[in-house]
């Protein structure tokens, strides 16, 4: 059905009118700069009118919320029917400590848990490994065994609360996710009741946050797809992957790169699962996305809207998906950590509020707001509470949830959405022509793209084209920090002692048997989670599991710098 929004005659007349306005008025005034660009570099014109949407077809390009092309939202009722999940990140020190913070946030009205893990846990090391002692308990909670997972969720109704495991790297995720499910089993909670998300993104391991000894891309994505397959079979309400665009952006990507890499990643996973014999509609409804909300307010809104429209077309046309849920681009948003400043930290309250508002106007399913002291330390109770309140104020006070997609139709927003879509599609074509995202990572193209974008961003900041209040403008000399910093508890000792006890109490033969079974499963190219969900109960540790994986798959040196 054709539904041209504006008729040709109107458009032609407006074009003339705008030229007249420009010549008679606008061109006679001086502006701050010669040209204006968004944060990601899209040119921005002084004024948008219907002529920027001359080819707009209402039914094809906009349509209705809850229907193809989903640009106005994935649900017909959006935030009138359900609020986005207020999911605040938490995780530090030993699991005993993080468990307390989870409970605090739930008492304060958080509607989901979002757990971060320390660097060793993310990368598959135990806390007593000599390589990692300095990072134990930093940036997240330390988890070594299923016992730790039990402590972490002690007293939390995981059959009712949705839990996100920010287990970015497949090598760590395969253990952590197995431990989570094993713990649920041990508590007698049926798998059908579990709701949540694990991050499980191979790009995180191989291109975004790189440390020594990572698995090769091919192996990393294999582990990632093992988890998808396992959940498809047994844990129907779990999102086994959350493509981590947020982290791509933090590493320096532009907005269109953020979307393109996520979708390319989703394409690669879908192809893998189809190769394993699954119909697209069996797993696609559970693929989920994770995005940043950066400074450029309208660019971010356009980014989310464009992602929905691009994704549903790919799922429908490329993979023949029929289930509407397979077509829906559902995403969690975290406000941009890189946009926060260590200088004048309370300015970050305002920044994060704008980021969060953009996420909501863009139709997010779930949001985390950064705490104002995040550029300095792990959030304190006051700063995490203020972050949560940001979400509640937007939802309860600002009235922006009264109507669905309030910006729909705006000449500027619609036209920026179109521009975004075009750019993302270009990138996707490039990736396709290289043979997909895994190949693009292997040859270092993704790394190259990101580091170029990061350098470009830094350069624009240094010239002052991108002002940052408190950093390169509005600076206060010699300021005192008015915030109280968070000191994290001593974790290594606690975890090391626990590990010692666990290893002493278990049967070494059983443990070795379990680890051998993991190796054999790799050899047979079987699904590792099928074994691990039981094996972690032996118990075997996360570090032991990933050593086996590295022995079999070997490690990869990313083509960085």
């Amino acid at each position: 059905m054709k539904g041209n929004v504006f008729d040709r005659g109107t458009i032609d007349r407006l074009k003339e009118e705008r030229e007249r306005w420009h010549n008679e008025c606008h061109s006679k005034q001086r502006e701050f700069k010669e040209s204006f660009r968004t944060l990601s570099g899209f040119p921005v014109e002084p004024l948008y009118t219907p002529e920027h949407l001359a080819d707009s077809d209402y039914f094809k390009d906009l349509g209705f919320p809850g229907e193809y092309p989903y640009i106005r939202g994935v649900h017909p009722t959006m935030y009138r029917g359900r609020t986005w999940t207020h999911r605040q990140l938490a995780g530090f020190g030993p699991p005993e400590e993080t468990n307390k913070r989870y409970k605090f946030l739930l008492e304060q009205g958080a509607t989901g848990i979002n757990g971060t893990y320390d660097y060793p846990s993310l990368r598959g090391y135990d806390s007593d490994d000599p390589e990692v002692w300095a990072d134990v308990g930093r940036g997240g909670v330390a988890i070594d065994t299923v016992e730790d997972m039990g402590i972490l969720f002690d007293g939390i109704p995981i059959d009712a609360v949705s839990v996100s495991l920010v287990s970015c790297q497949p090598i760590g995720n395969i253990s952590l996710q197995s431990m989570y499910f094993a713990n649920a089993k041990n508590r007698g909670i049926p798998f059908e009741k579990l709701t949540g998300t694990s991050q499980n993104d191979f790009l995180m391991e191989t291109a975004i946050t790189i440390a020594p000894g990572v698995l090769p891309p091919q192996a990393s994505i294999k582990l990632s797809c093992d988890a998808i397959e396992y959940c498809t079979k047994y844990i129907p309400r779990w999102n086994p992957i959350s493509f981590a665009g947020y982290n791509y952006r933090e590493a320096g990507c532009t907005a269109p790169q953020e979307i393109a890499f996520c979708i390319a990643n989703a394409i690669a996973c879908s192809e893998d699962l189809i190769k394993r014999g699954y119909d697209i509609d069996t797993f696609a409804p559970r693929l989920s996305f994770f995005h940043s909300a950066h400074n450029d307010f309208f660019e971010e809104i356009a980014k989310y809207r464009a992602a929905r429209r691009i994704y549903c077309a790919i799922m429908k046309e490329r993979f023949g998906a029929k289930n509407p849920r397979s077509l829906m681009y559902r995403f969690h948003v975290q406000t941009a950590g890189v946009a926060l400043t260590a200088q004048q930290p309370l300015n970050n309250v305002a920044r994060a509020a704008y980021h969060a508002l953009a996420a909501v106007l863009g139709g997010a399913q779930s949001v985390h707001v950064d705490a104002y002291d995040e550029a300095l330390c792990t959030p304190t109770e006051l700063s995490s509470l203020t972050a949560l309140r940001t979400q509640q104020i937007i939802q309860k006070e600002t009235g922006v949830t009264n109507t669905v997609d309030p910006l729909g139709g705006s000449y500027f927003v619609e036209s920026l959405t179109n521009q975004m879509e075009e750019k993302v599609n270009d990138l996707l074509e490039q990736i396709d022509s290289m043979g997909g995202i895994v190949k693009a990572v292997e040859k270092g193209w993704v790394h190259q793209e990101i580091s170029e974008a990061a350098s470009d961003y830094q350069a624009r900041m240094e010239t002052g084209e991108l002002p940052v209040v408190g950093v390169n403008c509005c600076v206060i000399e010699d300021e005192d920090l008015p915030v109280e910093l968070f000191e994290s508890p001593e974790t290594v000792q606690i975890q090391t002692e626990k590990l010692k006890r666990i290893k002493k109490d278990r049967s070494d033969r059983e443990a070795q048997k379990a680890l051998d079974a993991v190796y054999r499963c790799c050899e047979k190219d079987g699904n590792l989670m099928e074994i691990l969900v039981d094996a972690v109960n032996v118990p075997i540790t996360e570090g032991e599991i990933s050593k086996v994986l590295k022995r079999f798959y070997s490690v990869w040196d990313p083509p960085l710098f």
Partner: protein, 130 residues
């Protein structure tokens, strides 16, 4: 032609944030330094690499909060190896009260969040590395 000075850039321990160190590495390369970028390393490897590569300066990066655990170790090993002439600088997220502590154990300069490349390059050229 003046000999190009060599800098070793390493991220400490498990810290995964590479954006800052890569951006700085590029900038220093463009400013004319010889950059040896090694990614994540523990103190012993860092000091060994510094010896093998015969570097003039070491740039350490960390945003994870492990600096008070690992930086003293790097400095101790450098002293042990008699590499007192190698200057060490640090970049990343450091709470303000840790800065004097780092300087006390011999870090020449600490570059916190929001530092511009100009500041870093300016420092290095004042110290005659560029």
């Amino acid at each position: 032609m003046k000999e190009r000075k060599r800098i070793l850039i390493a991220r400490l321990g498990m810290d995964a944030h590479w954006r800052g160190s890569i951006v700085v590495a590029r900038a220093l390369r463009n400013a004319g330094m010889e950059v040896i970028y090694v990614g994540n390393q523990m103190p012993e490897r860092i000091v060994n690499t510094a010896i093998q590569e015969n570097v003039d300066i070491i740039g350490l990066s960390s945003l994870s909060g492990n600096h008070m655990a690992l930086v003293p170790e790097v400095m101790r090993l450098l002293r042990e190896e008699k590499l007192d002439n190698v200057m060490v600088i640090f970049g990343g997220t450091v709470p303000p009260h840790d800065i004097p502590k780092l300087k006390e154990i011999g870090i020449a300069e600490v570059f916190g969040p929001g530092t511009s490349l100009k500041t870093i390059i300016g420092f290095l050229s004042r110290e005659k590395f560029i």
